[in-house]
């Protein structure tokens, strides 16, 4: 059974079979978290809201095994298999043909995850995809966007979306609902708690250290994300949901809880004045939750204080809800434009950080995607690869920020350690390689980052970087003299039919020189022709 969206460039399954568009079709999503495995079956029809048909959940403590022993134990694996077999029967009962099953950190970080996932597939026929942090963020963002569809936080103005988890805090900055900036910061509640464990002073001093640490990290975040510009704050995560529940009670209708700035700060201050024993007693919390509550709330509080927001919005969203939207969107053939927009706006934000030459990079991106489209029949690549090419083209010169000399290698380095909203680690490795080969040496067996890709990804890198090299040559001068380009096939060779203005001597020489790789990859000779008659 095919998974609905290819997350990596290694297609595991055949492309989706086209199905008549009208009839609502049942789809399913499965989310394997740290403490439970959950199933959602829903009906999605194009243009209609998703209707939930069935929900199921089984408590399986995957996280406990992984986080304490580094691997999943036999009993836990068996419990997982049982749960998934049950889910499988439910899915079959509804006639589900499309699903997406994902696992997060509990499986991602387990040493025996490969063997585990293989057993799942053999026993239940369910293909589970392990997603990384960036995909988790993207899915959560989709759920938030759906829940708060008409809220000003997503339609106008600047918004901070934050989630303080156990290991780290994920923070995104949205402008008119589009993610501009995102990052992961060392504000995880469990981690902060642990590093303070070596402190043997009083509770009061411990709190001071904690605040100071959070202050320092917030200082750093402020350098990357314009916190002060945020007019809205959307907060996710168990600890802030707890605060919302205490402050405004349970919301039956699933509407988001809205907490005023002052009351929220007051609540945090009250909670932080108690020690763990008092919290356990006061709120009947388990010890583990009480321990993380204070660091998490201090982090939310300090971040909120940096913004201009007058309230904290706490929506009731889950990874599952985002997954379901993603599946429904892909099913309806939408999604790629929306997804592209988010990815590109995040790529542009990264480019700005490294002070790009915007007109040049945008021109190269335009020409590269144009050549990609012209050669569609030759390269056989799809929308996702086109998007990755566009990202690589926008960012191909950022290495100049480090040093002009060898800047293509610096571009690789910067991209290999950067995040772009919506792109997985595998995607980024590919983009970094494509950008790296925009000039100078061609891919070689001695290049480790290139060889670290699997064979199929290497082929994609070759094709895309060959196109990027040529597109870059067409703006050799960085003056955007070339308006457009077409690739015509004449007697087996390719003619670059270039529509441009002015003296194109440099562009001509550069294209012919740097079209070398394209010729090697596709086996076609290149010639250059100016399509516009001179001096009309």
């Amino acid at each position: 059974m095919p998974s609905p969206r290819r997350r990596s460039l290694t297609p595991k399954t055949a492309p989706p079979v086209p199905v008549p568009a009208e009839a609502p079709r049942p789809v399913a999503v499965i989310d394997m978290g740290a403490s439970a495995i959950r199933l959602l079956v829903a009906e999605a029809a194009p243009g209609q809201p998703v209707r939930i048909l069935e929900e199921a959940s089984r408590g399986v403590l995957l996280g406990k095994d992984t986080f304490t022993h580094g691997r999943l134990g036999a009993a836990t694996v068996e419990a997982t298999l049982k749960a998934l077999e049950g889910f499988r029967r439910i899915m079959d009962g509804y006639g589900v043909v499309r699903y997406r099953a994902v696992a997060t950190s509990a499986v991602r970080e387990a040493q025996n995850s490969d063997a585990f996932l293989d057993r799942v597939r053999l026993r239940t026929g369910i293909d589970v995809e392990v997603i990384d942090g960036s995909e988790e963020n993207r899915l959560t963002y989709m759920a938030v966007r759906e829940t708060l569809r008409d809220h000003p936080a997503l339609t106008s103005g600047d918004t901070l979306l934050l989630e303080v988890g156990g290991g780290s805090a994920d923070i995104s900055f949205l402008r008119k609902g589009q993610p501009i900036n995102s990052g992961t910061y060392p504000l995880g509640s469990i981690r902060m708690r642990q590093s303070l464990a070596s402190w043997h002073g009083s509770q009061e001093q411990g709190m001071r250290l904690l605040r100071r640490h959070i202050h320092n990290v917030v200082d750093d975040i402020r350098r990357e994300i314009p916190l002060r510009e945020a007019q809205h704050v959307i907060a996710l995560g168990g600890d802030v949901r707890f605060a919302a529940q205490q402050m405004v009670g349970d919301r039956a209708d699933g509407a988001p809880a809205i907490l005023g700035r002052e009351p929220f700060v007051a609540f945090c201050d009250q909670v932080t004045s108690w020690d763990v024993e008092q919290l356990v007693e006061q709120y009947h919390l388990p010890q583990a939750e009480a321990e993380t509550l204070v660091p998490a709330l201090v982090a939310y509080r300090e971040l909120l204080q940096e913004t201009a927001a007058q309230e904290v919005i706490v929506p009731d969203v889950s990874l599952r809800a985002g997954l379901l939207l993603d599946v429904a969107q892909v099913d309806a053939g939408q999604g790629i434009e929306d997804f592209s927009r988010q990815v590109l706006s995040s790529a542009v934000a990264l480019a700005e950080k490294y002070r790009w030459d915007a007109p040049h990079s945008k021109k190269v991106a335009q020409l590269a995607t144009r050549i990609f489209d012209e050669l569609k029949a030759e390269h056989g690549l799809g929308d996702r690869e086109r998007l990755l090419l566009e990202v690589a083209a926008l960012l191909h010169d950022i290495g100049n920020y480090v040093n002009l000399r060898g800047h293509h290698k610096h571009t690789w380095y910067l991209l290999s350690v950067s995040d772009i909203f919506g792109l997985s680690g595998d995607d980024m490795a590919l983009v970094a390689n494509v950008a790296r080969y925009h000039r100078r040496a061609l891919p070689q067996k001695s290049h480790l980052p290139y060889m670290a890709l699997d064979r199929e990804a290497r082929v994609v890198v070759n094709k895309l970087s060959a196109i990027l090299r040529l597109a870059n040559a067409l703006d050799a001068d960085h003056l955007q003299k070339v308006k457009d380009v077409r690739v015509l096939s004449e007697e087996g060779d390719w003619v670059l039919d270039v529509d441009g203005a002015g003296d194109l001597t440099m562009e001509r020489l550069a294209s012919l020189a740097r079209g070398d790789f394209l010729t090697e990859v596709f086996g076609r000779k290149l010639t250059f022709r100016e399509s516009r008659a001179r001096a009309s």
Partner: protein, 522 residues
Amino acid sequence: MRIAAIDIGSNSFHMVIVESRSGGFHVIDREKEMVRLGERTLSRGRLSAASMRRGLDALREYKRLADMHGVDKLLVVATSAVREAANGEDFLERVGGEIGFYPQVVSGEEEARLIYLAALHSVNLEGRRTLVVDIGGGSVELAMGVGPQVEWAVSEKLGVLRMTERFVHSDPLAARDERRLVGYVRQFMVPHAARARDDGFDLVVGTSGTALALGAMATAAGILPESLHHLTVPAAALHALRRRLVGTTLKGRRRLPLMDERRTDIIVAGAVVLDEILDALEAKEIVLCEWALREGLLLDYLTGHKRAVARAEAYPDVRRRSVVALAERCHFHEAHARQVAALALGLFDATASRHGLQAPERSLLEYAALLHDVGRHISYPDRHRHTEYLVRNGGLRGFDPREVEMMALVGRYHRRGVPRKKNLAFAALARPDREAVRMMAGLLRLADALDRSHRGVVKAVAVSETSRGLRLRCEAEGDAGLEQWASGRRVDLLERALDRAIQVEFAPVPAATAVRARAAGA
């Protein structure tokens, strides 16, 4: 900061050497030589051996002059002759190999933009829409703009050397040759002129040798001003001059007043080209401008490198200047970086008898401390590794590769990890350098912890020997809780490197006799 700009033109080479001064510059020296690099190149598409030799000789001389003036930055561009020659690359390679700098080939449009910039800064344009016309040896550039905004810029292969070689086959110029030349120029210029007229312009500015020479001759009747700069020449006078030049033989032209002897052969084509352009534009007059490509190049550099130029004025020492440049580029926490550098040097001095490192390592430690956190600009996780990368690749100047590598590794190990030989870069260092890196990383790690809160609370550090090891006494102003907590966790590497247990203690700054940690650098 002293800067030289060299323009490798098709007809002439120019060099101007300037001293930057608060955003502008002051000219120290100028050189000009009619090398005629484009001679026969423009028609044949290759630089001849003789042209290359002339070019190399001239550039060698320029380099010598630049060195004599102690130039910090050399800007070199080459235009159409090199741009178009099939063996232009060979020429550039030879310039690089034999003389030691690599000229940048600029396109005609870029050339036009830079020339416009020169006119903008030297002619009183008063916000008028201006068309700048530059007639060179190989090409003619037009740039239209208002104030700092260039609206469009074009370049056509109509330079005087090229036109002379192609059309001037008679002396005096035969009517047939002139007709063909005019037809050729109009073919390219009429569309641009029409566009310029449609856009509307208030002023035509002419730059470069040909326009200046013609302007001088056309106004020769009166008293020639000291400088041709900003002189307004009526189009009618230029037209009359053209008629006169076309009707005169080479020999006769030599005797004309103010005729520049080196230009007698190419001045006829120049007069026709300029007159035709003004005619197509329907312009009544042209304002001469002595600044051209090389000045534009300087202005462009100065605007693009304001910080670098200001820095050069502030830090005469190239090492410190380039360290600060990299740190600023990465938005470093300046106060924190300086405090860590001061603390690291304080610790270095206080433990000098134990570690035995000398002044060269001391200065590397200071630079590494100033740069220790630059990696966080790339991303927060693994920022020490990003620091290593930026220090190694960030183009630091004034250091040899071994020194750069040592600073990079000190940056790498300032937060965590123990330098070991399984790190190949570390293993590649000589043994004494490895020990120095380990020691410096230990000192820096502790110094960084002593400013954990980034508030500069630790004012002084004193080291004393005890029976159990070393005792570090830190005098702090205000709450040093975070420093105390962090230093306990970050003293490990220094203990290992010094092979001594280290006890870190904190005390408030005594009222009167605080021994301050020595402030680092500037």
